[in-house]
Symmetry: C2
């Protein structure tokens, strides 16, 4: 499958801009405060970590549906750590913490297999150079 | 400099979720239509390409300010191509097309040097495994 994803940014003065995404989303953005930007707006770094967090979620949803997992809830925190590698500042490590709630009686093995498959096949997780860790928690609910 | 960036995603049924970013931005998101999602919402793939596009812009703004470039306008399209590498689907190539407008009389050499420096030091551009190309265009305006 070949797809092309497009985005456009337009500078709006200072460290601020406007973002238009190919799929239709639009929003103001800014550098983060430590880079002379603003609080409250989308930042490049947040978008990067968010893309991986969202990407893992939608991949998990696809595989969970295939395996007919009775999913009750899903949420995930993801952290990205800015550091230095080969002399360059970059996101050296990304940690995703998915918390998956499934119907009581669901096989833990199947859920963990689907998490593992998602980790292997999530498109964006395979597109980065950072060390990537997925630390999951599975909860069984009625 | 060490920073940690945090994001949270919460599933909202089907291929949809809600995103909360550490810097304060919040929005609904969904898988792209080709992955059973919706048009009009932020998608993981768009967020990924957007993060690189925004990241390059804010890096360029920082270096342009340092070199006192009289910047009049900046916009950039960025495309990400989904393909296959080592058996995995991933974003194989990202192309950023910055269009920079500076005051007539500005040195083209300095502008190109700043673009080159931004390419080398943009944090997110150093965090991915995709082939990355920056194809710039400089315009001189009164």
């Amino acid at each position: 499958m070949v797809h092309v994803y497009n985005t456009k940014v337009t500078w709006q003065g200072e460290r601020r801009g406007f973002l238009q995404c190919g799929n239709g989303h639009q929003t103001a953005f800014a550098a983060t405060p430590e880079f002379k930007g603003d609080v409250g707006k989308l930042s490049p770094e947040d978008a990067f970590i968010a893309s991986l967090n969202m990407g893992f979620m939608v991949t998990f949803l696809a595989f969970a549906e295939k395996r007919r997992i009775p999913l009750k809830a899903y949420e995930a925190d993801a952290n990205g750590i800015l550091g230095r590698k080969k002399g360059n500042e970059c996101i050296i490590r990304v940690i995703i913490h998915p918390k998956v709630s499934v119907q009581r009686g669901t096989s833990l093995d199947v859920v963990e297999e689907v998490l593992e498959t998602s980790r292997k096949h999530a498109i964006l997780l395979n597109s980065i150079d950072s060390t990537l860790v997925v630390e999951h928690k599975v909860e069984f609910v009625d």
